[in-house]
Symmetry: C2
Subunit: 220 residues, 2 copies
DNA sequence: GGATTAAATGAATGTCGTTCATTTACTGCT
DNA sequence: AGCAGTAAATGAACGACATTCATTTAATCC
């Protein structure tokens, strides 16, 4: 999981080092590793710098801001979203596969969601590549062009929301001190709990099914 | 919109003031006003304090943290979500009404989304009240109890995702420098644009229709 | 080989949320 | 009425952070 920390035992003296110490790939990788084993709350510029054996200000020779660094992380992480099925499978199956991998990736990277939801795609070639693949799936299924983007955005919205939801504690719906004041909700909750299924997972599965079916049925 | 700033012209001296200066309602209101006319980026404890004519540390006699203050804002804002139709209208109509108001509210309060998506409902009586109303709608429509909570969560996930999406700039999908590399996507984009409809709004409408129809059709 | 540029250090800055010692007034008890 | 305890202000201070800047050193370009 985590890479060998390339912290040199001897302190580097000021001035440009003989061999390049940093570059975009190294910094992005260090950030991702940090996130992977310590979470986003520990992702600070200082922490990234120290894991690279470098002072924080050195990073700014390569990256403009922490925001930009987060975009680099997003780019890497995006690789785990599988859009390959759009070229080979029926649209509904491809959508389900895509949505599941997409949601799983961002459930592990929830803090990126508010970022990516608002990020211009031109800043992220891989995002663009993904959209091209997904669009291809709709086109091959015979969808009218003007309905494709809204359908993708609707699915993505559900995916992002579900990824956020997946990070919530399991007992989030426990009425606590207000028990008894919301009887129907408590019934429904108990019945759901009795199924043994994880609530977030069940909601995602059922919602995805519903939306895909609903979209394909209407093909507005 | 914004209330008269109750900043006293004369500086208060240290020590407990004769008449209560702060309370929960005042602080929450000040925060909401600040957000309403300056946005979340300007919502700092200092700004809230100064709009109340008080020093920042004074707030901490009433609120435990900024997080908690955000929860107070969320509670107020939640009032604009309309769940009244669940008692009076067919389930599908009530869901659409509810979802629209819910999404509109949080489109104006996007920074609250990551908070509420993970907030224990026991911390928010109004949230709980809303769930009771929504659950009532499903019950009256004859839904099996164990399917209700997942359906609500699925809809909520879509709503939160759509609210985030609504805050994105309109030209977010412009391929920019990568124009030409994603032809099918660019076609779809152009066709959508030609409809004249706002993309986020179209996506929300079509996604909501699809999910509601899909859910009601399956009633898992 | 000299000028320019790139890339490091380390000190410094500014913004925030939050804590703490201190002061003052309200409240409850006897 | 008087006193103890608590509540609610002030203002100074702290600790994280992201970010900037002056300085130093090495690579690169002409």
């Amino acid at each position: 999981m985590s890479h060998p920390a390339p912290v040199p035992p001897t302190r580097r003296r000021a001035g440009r080092p003989a061999s390049g110490v940093l570059d975009r790939a190294l910094i992005a990788r260090a950030a991702l590793d940090l996130v992977t084993d310590q979470g986003y709350s520990k992702l600070t510029m200082s922490a990234v710098a120290s894991s690279l054996g470098v002072s924080p200000s050195a990073l700014y020779n390569h990256v403009g801001s922490k925001q930009e660094l987060l975009q680099w992380v997003q780019e890497i992480v995006m690789d785990d979203v599988d859009h390959s099925w759009f070229a080979t499978h029926p649209l509904d199956e491809a959508l389900v596969r895509w949505a599941h991998t997409y949601r799983d990736v961002f459930a592990d990277h929830a803090p990126l969601i508010p970022l990516i939801a608002v990020l211009p795609v031109s800043d992220s070639p891989r995002l663009l590549e993904m959209y091209e693949a997904v669009t291809g799936g709709f086109v091959r299924a015979g969808w009218p062009p003007e309905s494709i983007v809204p359908a993708i955005v609707a699915l993505e919205s559900f995916i992002f929301g579900s990824a956020l939801d997946a990070t919530a504690p399991a007992d989030i719906f426990d009425p606590g001190e207000h028990a008894g004041t919301v009887p129907r909700f408590e019934d429904a909750l108990a019945a759901q709990r009795a199924t043994g299924a994880d609530n977030a997972d069940a909601a995602f599965a059922v919602g995805l099914q519903a939306m895909v079916a609903g979209l394909l049925a209407s093909r507005v």
